[in-house]
């Protein structure tokens, strides 16, 4: 599992100095893409990206020490719009990816999806929610769940 997590996120971020993930505010949902494609041509024809992929801002929210949760935090930071969409539907590949990152067994995945969908309003209380806040809310939810708490144990 650890190998996978590293493969998932660390390679892409290897040259970037990021603060301890799961420890930051993360990116705000629905912030739009302005600034991501300032050089569309270069991007299109394969310019390397001046990559702000994992530009997580450090903040004061509780730091996560669980490595799986850290990986989830990094993924959510980049993909929060799509994660929120899939969560509201209770299905979708981004939700599957979260399950993989948290190492959730196949047997527990229905429960995982349902928990996140049912508690969508608690995870994203308003349109200013950041990915860091959403991660903390997800961890808090899973901790209270009998079959899912083991995946987020510190």
């Amino acid at each position: 599992m650890k190998k996978l997590i590293a493969g998932a996120v660390l390679l892409g971020a290897s040259t970037m100095a990021f603060a301890q993930p799961g420890c930051g505010v993360g990116s705000m949902i629905w912030k739009g893409q302005s600034g991501v494609a300032p050089h569309v041509l270069a991007a299109t024809t394969n310019g390397t990206l001046g990559n702000q992929t994992f530009g997580m801002t450090t903040g004061t929210l509780g730091c996560q020490t669980n490595q799986a949760v850290q990986s989830m935090a990094m993924y959510m930071d980049s993909n929060i719009d799509k994660v929120a969409r899939d969560m509201s539907r209770g299905t979708g590949e981004n939700l599957d990816t979260l399950a993989v990152l948290l190492g959730i067994n196949e047997a527990d995945r229905d429960e995982f999806r349902a928990t996140l969908q049912d508690n969508f309003a608690a995870i994203f209380p308003n349109s200013e929610t950041t990915s860091g806040e959403a991660v903390d809310a997800i961890v808090a939810l899973l901790e209270q769940n009998e079959s899912l708490s083991k995946y987020v144990a510190a």
Partner: protein, 622 residues
Amino acid sequence: MGFTLRIGQAAIWLACSTAWAQADVPSLPEDLHQHPDWLTLGHYHPKAIGNGYLSQADDPAFFLSEQGKSSPEAELQATLNAILQPGEGNEHARCRFPARDAWLRKQLDLPDEKPSCPEYDDWFSTLNTEKVTLVFAASYLNSPSSMFGHTFLRLDPPQNTGETDLLLANTISYAADAAEHDSELLFAYRGIFGGYPGITSIQPYYEMIRLYNDIEHRDLWEYTLNLKQEEVDTLLAHTWEIQDKNFDYYFFDENCAYRLLALIDAARPGTDLLAEVSTHAIPSDTVRWVRDAGLIEQVHYRPSAATSVAHSLESLPAEHRDIAAAMANGFVEVDSDEVNALSEAARARLLDATYDYVRYQSEAENWPRAHAAPLSHQLLIARSALDHDGPVPEVPVPTIRDDQGHDTLRLSLGAGQLAGAEFTELTVRAAYHDLLDPPAGYRPGAQLQFMRLDARLYHPNNELQIEQVVGVEIRSLSPRDAFFSPISWQVGFGGRRTDTATRRVFTPYLEGGAGGSWNLGTHTQAFAVATADLEIDDDIRRGYDFAPGADLGVLHQNNHFSALAGVKAKAWIVSSQHRQDQLYVEGNWHIGREFSLFARFTREDHYDRYQSTWKAGLHAYF
């Protein structure tokens, strides 16, 4: 004094180690340095002028010999010496060049216990690759820079464990390392004539999806290659060798697609995909070569955000589509009675489609966050209360893939008549597709012509004339509807015959236009475009002429027949001061995707006289 002494010691040590190396190094077979596998691993190609080879690598770190760039032989000898040095660790040649090491040991029957290479071993196991997938980002014509398409490789982890996920897979790209502040023009210039370093880089797949699928609205085709585990490992080993090494980037040939072909060649010796490259490597063509080499095992289609949202809106019943448009624009509340009256399943679909549309508009049309974010939040809150997780309307996979569309080199032979004078016409077009070519595998309403030459032989006097040279010609007709309002546009330059009232002279031209297009049916659209034409030539009275104008027409495209008809009006306002009005009708009848029969008729009123041109013939695609 101490300094000199140390140099002396170093010199002795160097001499000794060289002596040692020479003693133990087995001799190389005489022509091993010309082995195709070695040339592939060193990116050697025969010199354009003179004998010998030159490597495409532009980085001293890629070579172990000082003559390595131009001498495969010296590089092979240096490689052999280096890999036989005792020791191991990150800086050892065996760790820096694992693919060369493995190949050479096999050729010479040398013992092959794996050395310890902490960085490489770590990298290799992290990539955890079982399969390699070639991903093709389809062109999206409203963005000219995407016209050639784009390719990269995805490294797929084992899929049967439930512990891996393709979104988290890594990808290999070869990219021009352009500075952020370079303008598009500078980028194009340096891309064509060289000047950008090209770097091989690794990024997670979800980043590529975000860039190509979500931001640039390009569909992705995923071609899983049938490389065996051993070949996959070789591909990775060679990727390690070229990673972070500079290979100068050239837009047309040594581009993103080219370097990936070299990697596949290295993975499966004898494939020789690079032999297919002549003057240019269009990514969609490179996919065909990979397909024709029998390398593809499985194909998967990943529609872009734009394709998906258009499809989910189309799948809604008409009255729900109206509600979606009203909700997205803030005229109907998300929790209004109108919405709540619908069945759960219908509401789920409506909310899903509306959310995707609002996100699309925010990305593509910069809808203000103050409107879009609270609305997005309300939509998802409402959606999360609905349990319906029935099938999301899946975008149907196009029956003809991009790589199955007609080939891009076109040769045409035709005959016709201009104001009574008969001619035979030969046309060569390097690339790519025009509105009347077989549409399967291409975007409807999209045209990109690149390097086209029309030559005519007039029979009455046996005179050979260049009729037109097209440098680049792009047209994008994108229909507008209640949800999407794209601009249709066109731009082109080249040289063409123009009428000066007394004769037809060849003149450079630049043209452009912008307007709108509307669907009349599934395969038919009507368009209205305001145009501008500029011609520059000393045969024109004031040296140049300029014409604002309009082009109104109808385009029909289906797999058997394509037709374009309309009227163009131009008012030349600088030199000739004459109107030029034209009626045009043209049609192509497609015979498979290899041939089209074409016919074109125009009637023109210029300099107060009427003139008709017609021609007909055959297009063949190669």
